[in-house]
Symmetry: C2
Subunit: 436 residues, 2 copies
């Protein structure tokens, strides 16, 4: 029997690891909670009705149809037995492995305030995206029917918590919807009266970027119509809005549509792995891995992607943390696969080295910031050229020819018409039914 | 104040009525339970993962953005006051009208066996389509993980109840998925082992068609791999399958994916209308209307589309029932609008006359039947030419240039690759969690 490789999770890391094992004399099993690989960088466009879900989600087993050594299974791993080399799925089924790659990713963290989840959904899954789409579009619908000016204003106030890439993208797009997509379609309200606020606890947005680009991003957000509140800490969220605290004091923001883009926590599988192996977790619940991405004492278990607290080991430099971005996850996936091949060949595994090709974030129509590392030094630009660069980079990395083609059409259409074609809410229970 | 026209429901009938009132000196309010107009004839393609929802659903207010006398409201009408000329929404809000057009459509009927709904979802809304998509795709996923041969066979047996157009389309597409889309993607099962059954109580499928075309349709279904059971009555449905009775006796069909395409019942608003006006309902709950589509004793209330039991009044012919197809609903919508204009001009309303341009139904790849009334007599054809005719007719009637374009691309893609791009299940709770 050939060595059994089990990969838990088919995000960027898991997908890349499985692909990198093509042609290797192993049986690979990919197990995922959903039936699709999700192109997470464009998930905010599903949430904001610019793209339909199938354009950014590909059935996992379809991606592996020609890679005959991969078996795809739908299932949720809940516990691991490190010594017995098995995992147990939620329904009790067990899977055996000789080499394990844990790529279960991350979820939102409300910093211990899980009661906020009902009032401020996060954005990690398609289900999350549909929920945000529903809340945003139904807030306008309800405002059109609301006679009370205060309640109407609350319905037309949209708050995004968290100034990282997702928060910036969401806030910028919310502003575009209010200013460009919806005007002319309502008879009692003017969508341009909507306010979009971006609340960030630190002194700047896009903290992973150089300070100058954070400032460009803030300027572009403001130009798009977003009110950016920096140094503002959220102290409470409920069905009617949220409380923020700044150096100026405490403020109440009335809103029926709050989106949470502030905190990320590792998958609960990190906890299960710690229970099984005694490995340590960092504050965000990520698994502290060895230099080669293995778990201490269990070299046949590797952890990659957002679940791993990994270091990059470049010769001649001190180790540096690997950022939680998709190129990091992909590189870890390829590295984990290479380690398995080396072990099968009787060689030692190698330390992981992250290659940083730069960082980019979009803000809205014609607006983005790009920070590229080049041999000649850093190349930084913003605005329209950065937006074009962002656009083609994302289309390039999208999976599947059809998706690239259709997404380009959708974007061209949206650019010229300001329309967003996916403004469909399948379940139209009004916002006032509460955030159940 | 201008006369207030209230239109309940924005399907084919309601949409057409509101459009036909463009330029008329009235205020039109369109109220619908959802935020979108649904192109129902292609809903089965969303259920079978061939199209994404936004391709066949357009935001209602977007459709009316340039028609300034239309106000769109999201809401569900629950009761009517015919004398006071108001309707009450689910949340208690009231809307006033001078002229009312009720176009609330139809829903599934389980012929008094509403307990079957949990085990055999119908197909009327996007939500229904997602549920069917989920069940079909997850049945294959679960079969891949199932070791017991009997349970595996039950997971790979798909049963469609009802041989009308929707049932025929669903069964044909299910067979195509099993034979052409999924093979090669599974490692433990062969999707070609799946069985697709179409169960119909009467002696033929597509009863609205001439008998010869019903026979052509049955042949084409069989060629696609569907087992057609005619004269088979369903006597029970539960979580494990269904019981059918034929002249040969009773048979148990084990299946985890049963779809209900057998019965149609009018919207519950018909009952509310009967309570308010004393009008009579037919056996399917449809409102019996006068020759001009008005409600007896309440000429300012008109009922159109699937909610109306209407007759066509052609000069020189006895009245004939209007069939429940989209051209019928559209023609009634235009007629109701014309009646309102006539009344406003002090003229009497006119009896409705349905113009029958024919009937067509698709069965699957390259398979359809067409029955056209022409001045030279009936023109009937089937197979590939009928399928092409069906295809272009549907693209032509789709709303929105973008949708036409993208649907054509999706169909071309699916035709050449056999792939179905929308194979995404956002909520992946396994089938065995039960049909909650």
């Amino acid at each position: 029997m050939r060595p059994q490789v089990l990969i838990i999770g088919c995000g960027f890391g898991g997908l890349e690891a499985a692909r990198a094992l093509a042609g290797t004399d192993v049986d690979v099993t990919v197990v995922d909670k959903t039936n699709h690989h999700l192109f997470q960088p464009l998930l905010y466009q599903v949430a904001t009705a610019g793209l339909s879900a199938p354009s950014i989600a590909a059935p996992i087993r379809h991606l592996f149809r020609r890679q005959r050594n991969v078996t795809t299974l739908l299932g949720e791993v809940v516990t691991l037995d490190a010594a017995g080399r098995t995992v147990t799925l939620k329904d009790g089924a067990q899977l055996r492995w000789d080499h394990l790659i844990v790529a279960a990713g991350a979820t939102h963290s409300y910093f211990g305030r899980d009661d906020w989840a009902a009032f401020a959904p996060g954005l990690k899954t398609l289900q999350d995206a549909f929920e945000i789409r529903r809340r945003v579009l139904l807030a306008y619908e309800e405002a059109e029917r609301e006679d009370d000016p205060a309640r109407r204003a609350a319905l037309l106030q949209f708050v995004v918590v968290g100034g990282g890439p997702t928060g910036v993208e969401l806030a910028g797009t919310f502003a575009e919807i209010a200013r460009h997509t919806l005007p002319g379609e309502f008879r009692r309200i003017d969508p341009r009266d909507a306010r979009v606020l971006l609340v960030e606890g630190s002194p700047r947005v896009l903290q992973a970027m150089p300070e100058s680009l954070s400032e460009r991003a803030r300027e572009q957000l403001t130009a798009l119509g977003v009110e950016v509140r920096l140094g503002a800490r959220v102290t409470g969220i409920d069905a009617e809005g949220l409380d923020i605290t700044t150096s100026a004091g405490t403020e109440r923001l009335h809103s029926r549509c709050v989106v949470w883009a502030a905190g990320v926590a590792a998958s609960p599988l990190g906890r299960a792995l710690a229970d099984a192996t005694g490995c340590t977790l960092d504050r965000a619940g990520r698994v502290t891995v060895e230099a080669d991405l293995g778990v201490k004492g269990f070299p046949t278990i590797q952890v990659i992607g957002d679940l791993a607290a990994a270091q990059s080991h470049a010769p001649g430099h001190p180790p540096r943390p690997v950022p939680g971005v998709s190129p990091g996850a992909k590189q870890m996936g390829r590295h984990a696969a290479a380690n398995i091949r080396r072990r099968l060949a009787g060689q030692a595994s190698l330390p992981f080295r992250y290659r940083d090709y730069g960082n980019l974030a979009t803000i809205g129509r014609n607006s983005a910031v790009v920070d590229l590392g080049t041999p000649a030094g850093a190349l930084r630009f913003s605005g329209y050229p950065a937006w074009l660069f962002w656009l083609f980079a994302h289309v390039y990395f999208l999976i599947g020819f059809r998706n690239r083609f259709v997404v380009l059409i959708d974007w061209a259409w949206a650019y010229w018409t300001h329309d967003r074609h996916a403004r469909v809410v399948s379940e139209a229970s009004p916002v006032r039914d509460g955030p159940a």
